[in-house]
C-alpha cells in the first residue's frame, strides 16, 4: 500500500516532511526560470503541485477503492521532487515544530533578498502595496498558514507552496536566493506572479475553506479524510518531546494497570542452560539452527535470570514465546524489555500485535503510537499537539488517529525499495483490529513484498485471511510460514483453527498435537502433573474445542497441561 509522498529522506533522524518545508522556504521560481522560459514560470510552479500524473492518480483511486492492484510507484514524482531538492540549497530545516511558520527563516530570506538587485525590491514593494492583504505582523502568519493548509490535497506541499507565496508578500525581493542573486526576472512574469498572488491573498483573507483554484487539480478528495486532520496540527502550541513522552506514559500506564497478569515472567524451574554463561548466544544459535522454540526460550530465560537487565535477551524471549504460542509469557517478557529500554522498536511492535491478539485493543493502539513516535517522531508529535488526550473509551477514534499517523509514515516512502515493512505491518494490525480485512491484507502483502522470507508476515497474512472467512487461502499462507520455519508453533496453531472452521477436525487435532509436542524439550524431566511454568492455554483450549466438535467429550479430560501429544494420538487414530 504505497501512498504518495516521495523524496528520499526517510531516515528517522531527519524530518520526513522536510522536503515540504524546503519547498516553502525556498522560492524556486528562479531555478525554474533557469530551466524554462520565463513566461512559463508560474505554470512551472503550479506544475510542481501537479506532479501526480494521471496514471498515478488512477492507482491512488484504485487503492482507495480497495482494488487488489499491487503497489504503485511514485517514482516519477519522487524523481521530480529530488530534482527540486538538487536545485534548492538547504535552508534552515527547523521542522522540529512541524511546519510552523519560522520567523527566523523569514529573516534569512529577507536578508538574502536585500542583497539582490534593487530591481527586485522595487518590483516587490509594488506588489506588496497592491495586495489588499497586508499582514504587517508576524503573528498573523501562522493563521494564514493554517488557512492555507485547509487544502485537503497533498497538504504539506501545497501549504509549502502557499508559504512560498506568503513569503513573497512579506519579504520584498525574496525571490532571490544566494545562487541567483541579481538575476532579474522579466517584468512580464512578475506581473503574472503579482496577479496570481493578489487572487490568492484575496481568497485567503475571508474564508478558511477557500479552495485554492490555482493548484486545485491534484488528487481531488482522494486524501481528503486523511489529510483533513493534519491541517489542524500546524498549531502555535507545541509539546516538547519530553512532555509528549510523559503524556504517552500516563496513558500507557492506564492501560497497563488493567491487565495485571503480565506483570511477572514465570520461569521454568528446570533449565538446562541455567548456569551457562553463553546462554544468550546459545539461544540465538538455536533459533537459527531450527531448534524447537521452547528450547531457545529456555536459553533466553537462563540469560535473563543471570542478567535481568539484558534487554535483547528479554526481547528475544518475548519474540520466541509469542511464536511459540505462549502469548502471556511473551507479553511479560516484552513488557520487561520495554521497562529497560522504552524505545525498543521490535519489542513495541511485537507487543502491540500480542495485545491485539488478546483483545486489548486500546493498549495496542497506545503501543503502536509509541512505536511511531519513536521511529517517526515528527509525525507523532504533530498529531499529539492536535489531540492531547487519548480517549480511553473511544476505541474507534483512537484507532483512526493512530492509523493516520501510520499512513503519514507510509507516505514517506511510497516506492517499494524504501518501504518500511514495519509501518506496513503496524498499519495492517490497525486495520485488522477494526476488521477491515481487505486493507489488512494489502498491508501484510506489502510487508511480505519487502521481506518475502519472513514467516511471521506470512502467518499474519494467513490470520487475516482466516478471519475474513477464507480458510483455504489462510492455510496456504500458514503452510508457507511453516516452510520457512517448521518450528513456528503459532502458525501450526492457526492451521488447527482453520481446519476446525472447515470442519476437518482430524487434521486440526493433528496439527494442534504437533504444536503441543513442540513444547516438549529434551532434557526437561518428566514433571508430575505436567507442571510446566508457561502453558499454551490457547493450544489446549482449541484442542478441547476440536474434540467437542467431533463429539469426543470423553477425551476432553485428558487435555491438560503437560499432556503427552503422542500418547494422546492413540486415543483418536
Amino acid at each position: 500500500m504505497s501512498l504518495l509522498g516521495g523524496g528520499s529522506e526517510c531516515s528517522t533522524g531527519a524530518n520526513p516532511l522536510a522536503h515540504f518545508n524546503k519547498h516553502a522556504q525556498e522560492d524556486t521560481s528562479l531555478q525554474q526560470s533557469l530551466r524554462n522560459q520565463p513566461g512559463q514560470q508560474r505554470r512551472m510552479m503550479l506544475r510542481e503541485e501537479n506532479q501526480m500524473s494521471m496514471s498515478e492518480k488512477q492507482h491512488m483511486e484504485s487503492f482507495m477503492r480497495n482494488d487488489q492492484t499491487g503497489a504503485f510507484s511514485f517514482q516519477p514524482m519522487a524523481n521530480e521532487l529530488s530534482n527540486i531538492h538538487r536545485h534548492t540549497p538547504l535552508a534552515n530545516q527547523n521542522i522540529q515544530r512541524g511546519n510552523q511558520f519560522n520567523p527566523q527563516e523569514f529573516q534569512q530570506l529577507n536578508m538574502r533578498a536585500e542583497s539582490a538587485g534593487p530591481g527586485w525590491t522595487s518590483e516587490f514593494s509594488q506588489s506588496v502595496s497592491h495586495s489588499p492583504a497586508q499582514l504587517p505582523s508576524q503573528q498573523q502568519q501562522p493563521s494564514m498558514m493554517r488557512s492555507s493548509l485547509n487544502r485537503p490535497l497533498m497538504g504539506g506541499m501545497s501549504s509549502g507552496f502557499m508559504m512560498g507565496r506568503s513569503a513573497m508578500s512579506h519579504a520584498p525581493g525574496v525571490h532571490a536566493n544566494q545562487a541567483d542573486a541579481g538575476r532579474v526576472v522579466e517584468v512580464e512574469s512578475m506581473q503574472q506572479w503579482e496577479d496570481t498572488f493578489k487572487e490568492y491573498e484575496a481568497g485567503l483573507q475571508g474564508r478558511e475553506d477557500e479552495p485554492i483554484e490555482v493548484n486545485a487539480n491534484i488528487m481531488d478528495g482522494a486524501f481528503e479524510q486523511v489529510w483533513d486532520n493534519i491541517q489542524e496540527t500546524y498549531a502555535d502550541t507545541e509539546l516538547t518531546n519530553d512532555e509528549y513522552q510523559a503524556a504517552w506514559e500516563k496513558d500507557f500506564e492506564q492501560y497497563a494497570i488493567s491487565r495485571m497478569n503480565y506483570g511477572k515472567y514465570a520461569f521454568e524451574e528446570q533449565n538446562q542452560f541455567a548456569n551457562d554463561p553463553d546462554a544468550y548466544e546459545i539461544g540465538l544459535k538455536l533459533m537459527e539452527s531450527g531448534a524447537k522454540l521452547s528450547e531457545a526460550a529456555l536459553a533466553f530465560e537462563a540469560a535473563v535470570q543471570q542478567n535481568p537487565d539484558h534487554v535483547n535477551a528479554w526481547l528475544k524471549l518475548g519474540e520466541v514465546q509469542t511464536q511459540n504460542e505462549k502469548e502471556s509469557a511473551g507479553i511479560s517478557a516484552l513488557e520487561k524489555c520495554l521497562q529497560l529500554s522504552p524505545e525498543n522498536l521490535p519489542a513495541l511492535m511485537t507487543l502491540a500485535i500480542s495485545y491485539v491478539n488478546d483483545g486489548y485493543d486500546n493498549a495496542a493502539y497506545a503501543t503502536l503510537e509509541r512505536w511511531i513516535q519513536t521511529k517517526y517522531p515528527q509525525i507523532a508529535q504533530q498529531a499529539r499537539v492536535e489531540n492531547p488526550d487519548i480517549e480511553a473509551d473511544d476505541r474507534v477514534a483512537l484507532n483512526k488517529r493512530i492509523t493516520q499517523l501510520f499512513i503519514k509514515a507510509a507516505q514517506l516512502s511510497p516506492d517499494v525499495a524504501n518501504m518500511d515493512p514495519d509501518v506496513q505491518t503496524g498499519l495492517g494490525v490497525l486495520f485488522y483490529s477494526i476488521e477491515e480485512f481487505d486493507k489488512t491484507m494489502d498491508c501484510f502483502r506489502a510487508a511480505i513484498g519487502v521481506r518475502p522470507d519472513d514467516a511471521l508476515s506470512w502467518n499474519r497474512l494467513g490470520a487475516s485471511l482466516a478471519n475474513s472467512n477464507r480458510p483455504e487461502e489462510a492455510i496456504e499462507a500458514y503452510s508457507r510460514a511453516l516452510q520457512l520455519n517448521p518450528n513456528f508453533v503459532r502458525a501450526r496453531y492457526n492451521l488447527g483453527v482453520s481446519y476446525i472452521n472447515m470442519g476437518m477436525y482430524d487434521d486440526a487435532i493433528e496439527h494442534l498435537l504437533t504444536g503441543l509436542s513442540m513444547h516438549k524439550v529434551d532434557g526437561l524431566e518428566e514433571i508430575p502433573d505436567g507442571m510446566v511454568s508457561n502453558q499454551s492455554t490457547s493450544l489446549l483450549e482449541t484442542l478441547k474445542r476440536a474434540l467437542l466438535a467431533m463429539d469426543r467429550r470423553d477425551l476432553i479430560d485428558k487435555v491438560k497441561p503437560g499432556m503427552d501429544a503422542d500418547s494422546f494420538r492413540k486415543f483418536l487414530f
Binding site: S258, N261, D358, T537
Partner: protein, 305 residues
C-alpha cells in the same frame, strides 16, 4: 449404624448487612453510601466438628461476622469485588486450616437524588429498584481463584418489539405464534473474569484501581438495556446471546458471560364476550408460571497474528 463418611462440608455466615458511609475529605458533607449483604463460606479441616463433635477447629460464624464488619470499616470496599478479594485473602492468611473460601457480596441500590436540573445532592439517596450488583469470589489456598461479577433483579419490560414464532410443533403444543408481544424479565447477568489473564488474586486490586471492574459493570448493564430496547427480539434466546457477545467484545479480561432470564408472561385479556377486539392493548400480568432461559457464552477460537 452403618459406617458413614463426611464427603463435603462448608460453613460460614450469611446475610451480614451493613451500610458504609464514605465522606469526601475536602467536604465531609459530601458522602457516598454502600449498603451490602455479605455471605462467607469456609472450607478446610473442619471434619472433626461434624464427625467427632470436636469444635476446636471451628472459627465461629460470629467471628466471621465480626471480621466482615471490622474489615468493612478499615478497608476501602468500593467496588465490592475489591472487598471480596480482601476478605478472601484475609481468611486464608489468618487461619491455616482454611483451604478455601467463597465470598458473595450483594450491593443494594442507592442512587443519589438530583435536582430537577440534574445537580446531585450531597448525601441523599433514592432506592430506585430492587436491582442488586453482585460479586462472588472463590479462592483456594493454592492460589486458584474465580471471580464473577454480575447484576440481578433488573426488571424490564417492553410493550412491543418482541416476537416468537417458528418454534417446534407437536401434539402437546398449543402456543400461538406471534410477531408482536410483550417481553418482560428480571435480568440476571454474570460475567466471569479470566483467571489466567488476571494471574493472581492480587490482580483484582489493580483491576479495581484502574476502574476496569466498574467499567465492565457499566458496559454490561448498558449493553443489556440497549439491546433489550433496540432489538426486535425473535426470542429471549437470540437476544441474550447478542447481549453476551457484545459484552465479551467490550471487556477483554472477561472469559464468559452468562444470562438467566425468566420470561414473565403478559397475556392478552379476552374481550370477545363484549364484542371488543384487543389490539395488544390490555394485558394480564401473569405471576406464574414463567419461562426460564439460561445461557453461557465464551469467545470463539481465533487465528493469532
Amino acid at each position: 449404624m452403618a459406617p458413614t463418611v463426611l464427603t463435603a462440608s462448608t460453613y460460614g455466615k450469611d446475610n451480614v448487612k451493613f451500610l458504609k458511609v464514605k465522606k469526601d475529605p475536602s467536604n465531609p458533607q459530601k458522602q457516598e453510601v454502600m449498603e451490602a449483604t455479605v455471605k462467607i463460606l469456609l472450607t478446610g479441616d473442619f471434619d472433626i466438628s461434624y464427625t467427632k463433635a470436636d469444635n476446636s477447629p471451628i472459627v465461629p460464624t460470629d467471628t466471621v461476622k465480626n471480621t466482615i464488619l471490622v474489615e468493612a470499616k478499615t478497608f476501602d470496599i468500593w467496588p465490592i469485588e475489591r472487598f471480596a478479594a480482601h476478605l478472601a485473602e484475609h481468611f486464608i492468611k489468618k487461619y491455616s486450616h482454611v483451604s478455601g473460601i467463597d465470598v458473595t457480596i450483594h450491593q443494594h441500590r442507592w442512587s443519589r437524588i438530583t435536582k430537577e436540573d440534574g445537580t446531585p445532592y450531597d448525601h441523599s439517596f433514592l432506592k430506585d429498584g430492587e436491582e442488586l450488583r453482585v460479586a462472588s469470589l472463590n479462592y483456594k489456598r493454592n492460589g486458584d481463584f474465580v471471580l464473577t461479577s454480575g447484576l440481578k433483579d433488573l426488571t424490564v419490560l417492553k410493550s412491543t418489539g418482541s416476537m416468537f414464532y417458528g418454534f417446534h410443533d407437536c401434539d402437546y403444543t398449543t402456543l400461538i405464534p406471534v410477531t408482536d408481544r410483550i417481553l418482560s424479565t428480571d435480568v440476571d447477568a454474570a460475567w466471569e473474569w479470566d483467571s489466567k489473564k488476571l494471574g493472581s488474586i492480587k490482580a483484582i486490586y489493580g483491576l479495581a484501581e484502574s476502574g476496569a471492574i466498574d467499567a465492565a459493570f457499566k458496559h454490561a448493564r448498558q449493553v443489556t438495556l440497549d439491546l433489550f430496547a433496540i432489538e426486535n427480539s425473535p426470542s429471549v434466546q437470540a437476544t441474550m446471546y447478542n447481549m453476551a457477545s457484545k459484552i465479551l467484545s467490550l471487556v477483554p479480561q472477561v472469559r464468559t458471560v452468562s444470562y438467566s432470564l425468566p420470561n414473565k408472561h403478559y397475556f392478552l385479556i379476552d374481550y370477545k364476550w363484549k364484542g371488543l377486539k384487543n389490539d395488544n392493548e390490555v394485558f394480564y400480568p401473569s405471576p406464574h408460571p414463567n419461562g426460564l432461559i439460561k445461557c453461557t457464552v465464551a469467545r470463539d477460537i481465533k487465528a493469532k497474528l
